[in-house]
């Protein structure tokens, strides 16, 4: 069975107001999946709920056909302090966390794994630098290396390409492809229609509700975008999104 995240009738609310209303859909492991929608449409809420950081009011999320239930979540803005005196290698090593490595010394095999993850994102030459010495794009690579070590069944990425140059974007997409080929589910919140069409075979269009969920070309239609606009009053302010649409 192909791995998949299956979502049924998911409702999530903040302070009584539904941010997600009866969202249903699936994210299959067979393609890179995108979640697209204007600002305020509930994209981040959806990812956080799948990651287990938010409790749904109702509905169900299931991880099907995977060997582990581990989920890696990468927030849009890394929740850490860039002046913290910690080197790149130690940040990446945190990815081993869900699989142990809390108290005991790291084993030789774990060290090799850490170095391999650092090499895979091209940061070997800065592995010993403090995190504060890196650029935004390099920090993003650090987060990718850390996520890699989590060895998760599903990886949820919130706007990983924001403030990242096009070379790095292409490089990160390659890594995501590799994850997907390894049988992992990769779900990415995106703002960019061009990227979605080019690299993401599967898309959920979100506007509080799921307007469409399926192969990208069949979801990002002008009809669906029109419906999204009607569904989400608050989202109308996101002019860039509608201009690109």
């Amino acid at each position: 069975m192909t791995p998949a995240i299956d979502i049924q009738e998911l409702t999530v609310s903040y302070d009584g107001a539904d941010v997600l209303h009866r969202v249903s859909g699936a994210f299959p492991g067979g393609a890179l999946c995108a979640v697209i929608g204007p600002n305020g449409s509930g994209k981040t809420t959806l990812l956080k709920t799948i990651a287990g950081l938010l409790m749904p009011k109702s509905g169900r999320i299931r991880l099907l056909g995977t060997a582990t239930q581990r989920i890696a979540y990468m927030p849009q803005h890394a929740g850490f302090d860039r002046t913290f005196p910690i080197v790149v290698r130690d940040v990446v090593a945190m990815g081993l966390w869900p699989r142990g490595g809390r108290v005991r010394r790291l084993t030789g095999a774990q060290r090799d794994e850490i170095e391999a993850a650092i090499a895979a994102v091209g940061l070997t030459n800065v592995a010993d630098l403090p995190i504060g010495a890196l650029s935004g794009g390099q920090i993003r690579r650090v987060l990718f290396a850390r996520a890699m070590l989590q060895d998760a069944a599903a990886l949820l990425l919130d706007e990983p390409f924001a403030n990242v140059d096009s070379d790095t974007t292409a490089f990160l997409v390659e890594i995501m492809r590799r994850w997907q080929q390894e049988g992992r589910i990769v779900v990415t919140v995106l703002h960019d229609f061009e990227l979605a069409h080019k690299h993401f075979g599967w898309t959920m269009l979100l506007a509080h509700e799921s307007v469409g969920c399926g192969p990208t070309a069949s979801v990002l239609t002008s009809e669906n975008l029109g419906r999204a606009r009607d569904l989400c009053d608050r989202c109308a302010a996101d002019r860039n999104f509608w201009a690109a649409a």
């Binding site: 850490f80 005196p85 910690i86 940040v91 966390w97 869900p98 850390r146």
Partner: protein
């Protein structure tokens, strides 16, 4: 001459020996905790917690007089209760955690001062508020050394998760178990505050924990270096402060904390990582 100045006070007087031993223990256990407080941006919260210890210590005082075990037990309980209540109140109401803690610690501080004033006299109040490291007896010393030993043992076992949780709490919450480490850390903070309480009083218990750590931040490139530097600074200022207190005839608590303050002041200027004078020579290396 140098012997008279630097060694004789400790060689000749038992209470000075005990005071020095207490300072060494406080430096070894408290400075690493201070480093974590600074890295978690909780330095001021630590101060609030230090004041929260007071009502418990005051009740201990009412029951047991100026005996450290009674003061310590009361202090630990009060500190943890305030930390827990503040956390629960902020989660239940959405009030900011620091605001909630400020509310609770002020109540605790006032209640503590009231209890000591009603039950004792102004000398007792002074003792509880400002401590007196020169009055550390054998039992108090055992307690302080015991807390330092326990702290180091727990830190050795939980160092990596504590650092990881300080650095990226959101990540730790997602992979599971962020909150547990935070609670463990709070317990260690309160224990060390109680240890520092006898020597430095509730008002300055944090002095030997946080000032060396803040100073160390200006010298260290890694957390590990920061711990080593903080312990070294704490040891030096504990020793130096006692000497100054002895030779100048001033109270030991302020002497120690002010000596640590001088170390911090110097680090602000000459610290190799971000000191004002060094910073001018460097090309900024942070970008984008």
């Amino acid at each position: 001459m140098i012997y008279d100045l630097l060694v004789a006070p400790f060689a000749e007087f038992t209470f000075m020996k005990r005071a020095l031993a207490a300072c060494i223990a406080l430096a070894l256990g408290g400075a690493p905790i201070g480093v974590l407080l600074v890295l978690r941006r909780m330095s001021l919260m630590g101060d609030a917690l230090a004041h929260s210890v007071l009502p418990g210590a005051a009740l201990g005082f009412v029951v047991g007089g100026l005996s450290l075990p009674a003061l310590a037990l009361g202090g630990v309980v009060a500190g943890l209760v305030v930390a827990l209540l503040a956390g629960m109140a902020s989660r239940a109401t959405g009030l900011m955690e620091d605001a909630s803690l400020a509310g609770f610690f002020l109540i605790a501080l006032a209640a503590g001062v009231l209890i000591v004033s009603l039950a004792g006299n102004s000398v007792d109040l002074t003792h509880v508020l400002f401590g007196n490291v020169l009055a550390v007896d054998a039992m108090s010393l055992t307690l302080v050394v015991g807390i330092a030993g326990l702290t180091l043992a727990v830190l050795a076992l939980s160092w990596r998760p504590l650092i990881a949780e300080s650095f990226d709490p959101e990540f730790m919450a997602q992979v599971g178990g962020g909150g547990r480490w935070h609670m463990l850390f709070l317990v260690l903070v309160v224990l060390n505050l109680v240890a520092g309480f006898q020597a430095l009083g509730t008002l300055m218990a944090l002095g030997l924990m946080v000032l060396p750590a803040v100073a160390a931040r200006l010298w260290a490139r890694s957390v590990w270096q920061m711990v080593v530097a903080a312990v070294a600074i704490a040891l030096a200022t504990g020793y130096g402060g006692l000497l100054i207190s002895w030779h100048a005839g001033v109270p030991s608590g302020p002497a120690i904390v002010l000596t640590a303050g001088v170390a911090y002041g110097c680090s602000l200027f000459i610290g190799s990582q971000g000191g004002v004078l060094r910073r001018r020579q460097q090309v900024p290396h942070r970008h984008g």
